[in-house]
Amino acid sequence: MPELIQLGIQYGGFLLLLVVTYFIGSMIERRHFRKLRLREEASTHFPCVTFRSVPSDWQVTEANLVTGSVVVSLDYFKRFLAGLRGIVGGRIRSYETLLDRARREAIMRMKDAAHTAGYSAIINVRLETSRLASTARNGEGTAGVEILAFGTAIKLAR
């Protein structure tokens, strides 16, 4: 019994951290996905395309660069799981959803920026991903991932 208590004290903090971060992390993720769906539905009328050219019958009056970016990171629990996954290999679902969330958020921010500035469409949308190194563990740890969405916003003559 004393051994069990000692073990509990030794690993209890770690386990508690895993459990707490699991619940908070999942809650944040679910809420983010819900908000994203609503915002995406609200902005479906705003054209946002990856091709360079403008259809010849569009009368463009103004053009400028718009960007949207976001830095995200995984919660402690999922990072722990991803570490385990690294041993056996295969799909790391938690990173897939994280990057999906981040890309959609960056695109939404770019769209919002273009919309508030009075533009009516965005062409040549590009996405860039870069990893931010953390100062922890001699720069080995990942502080987060930055997703940048950018494109050329255009105003059309009506």
Binding site: G25, A63, E128, G139, L148
Partner: protein, 104 residues
């Protein structure tokens, strides 16, 4: 200054080319922000401090690029690209480059 990431400015024609213009900035993290981001790192989600930091830095890089283009007499920069690289622990370089042109 008009900035676009395609070879032309839609709705306008290029009348003169001036060459490549660049703008860059190297930023390190603020210790307070780093600490907060460290805490946020436990629960995951957006690290707002970093998002703001990188956004400011990128705006600065774009402004420097635009200034260089302006000094050449250009009124637009086309085909703009971005690149981000971690040059040292806790510091990142944000780099923007494009071609300075005159449009009408």
């Amino acid at each position: 200054m008009i900035v676009s990431n395609i070879e032309t400015v839609p709705g306008k024609t290029i009348i003169e080319f001036y060459g490549v213009v660049t703008g860059s900035t190297v930023r390190a993290k603020h210790i307070g922000r780093d600490f907060m981001a460290g805490l946020k790192n436990l629960v995951g989600g957006e690290l707002k401090g970093y998002t703001e930091l990188l956004h400011e830095a990128r705006t600065e890089a774009l402004a420097r690029m635009a200034k260089e283009a302006q000094s050449m007499g250009a009124n637009a920069v086309v085909n703009v690209r971005f690149s981000t690289s971690s040059v040292a622990q806790g510091a990142a370089e944000l780099f923007a480059y494009g071609t300075a042109v005159k449009v009408e």
